[in-house]
Symmetry: C2
Subunit: 200 residues, 2 copies
Amino acid sequence: MTPNKELQESRMRGYFIESTREILKGEGLKALNVRAVAERAGYSYATLYNYFKDLNELVFICVNDFMIECESFVEDHTREYQPGRQRLKQRMIALIRYFTQYPGIFELFYLERMNSLGSQHPTAAAIYRFTDSLSEADLAAMVSGSITDKETAENIRLSLRNAATGMLLFYMNRMQPDGYKAFMETAERQLDFILGRDQA
Amino acid sequence: MTPNKELQESRMRGYFIESTREILKGEGLKALNVRAVAERAGYSYATLYNYFKDLNELVFICVNDFMIECESFVEDHTREYQPGRQRLKQRMIALIRYFTQYPGIFELFYLERMNSLGSQHPTAAAIYRFTDSLSEADLAAMVSGSITDKETAENIRLSLRNAATGMLLFYMNRMQPDGYKAFMETAERQLDFILGRDQA
DNA sequence: TTAATATAATTAACAATGTTAATAAAATTA
DNA sequence: TAATTTTATTAACATTGTTAATTATATTAA
């Protein structure tokens, strides 16, 4: 019987990745450390280093997973809409919902640790383009449907990105506006303001 | 001769505060630690604890100093303008300039460490209101001059705050858009978009 | 002025965390 | 089954924040 080394290794990696995911989703970055990850995975802290270069590697893997997860979440919540302005708004709302549900993931994406590694890291670049990738299709539809011109679409793209991350940053870091409901109402008003009123 | 205890203590505090300011402005948060602050101040690391509760206290003092400094910077750069939309735009540009000049201060204001302390801390609240306080007067002027209605002014206020912090966040963390000049052009376009074209 | 006391500063030490080196355990092969 | 390779664990080190113990300095009372 020839042991399947690759399968074994991939399982081991999986245990640590799953453990990291759970901590990040549950308690957030502050609670993440090598010993906590290893303990939850059922191994000693040093074992982790047999499968990953360092803790950051694990974090990056999770960031990529979360991006995919968030994208699916947004997709699932906007299936009934046609590409265009209304769907774009709903997509942004879904994005905001996802992050308020998992504040630790937002923190991970836009704050702290990303800092520690250089900006050229592919994961950092992917995060940078993340909200853009979510708005891309709808903006294209709006342009081709002559609802907006190209330049405005570009401004909307940037404004949406800043509005989403900005509002979440302030909401989570300083808990303002106070309470989820008030926050979502403000968010919706902001989105309407950026996306403009009916005009086509 | 009766020694002036208060003067002595205030001088000592000053040495540590100045040291902290220099490190934050120069090398940023990552380089800030108790031993570095104390060494630059010319004392042992433990001496710091005779004058400050902990490193965070020192950081908060600096945050407040930097807010005042930034406010003066903005004021100095917009003296020639009348209150209103044009000045508001210039004020935002000045704000962005200040933070690009001192990335460490931006990082300090909006990222990392603020996290570590609760959101109820008065310094956190002051940061939250910081951009609002800069835009307040001009927005009021725009409303009273019937250039915008109250609701729009409120939307502009939020959008400006998000745009400023959002663009800086992306620029500094991921160095995008590439280069200072391109960044400032994008920033100006964004501000124009948010503030709206001539309409009064 | 000098001994006693209070104040202030320093070194030693501890805890938490990331990481690596040395050792032990387990699995594989000859 | 012994030798070897692979994998996992414990020990250990570095960094950082913080506190305790110790030493040095300044102040006060005789």
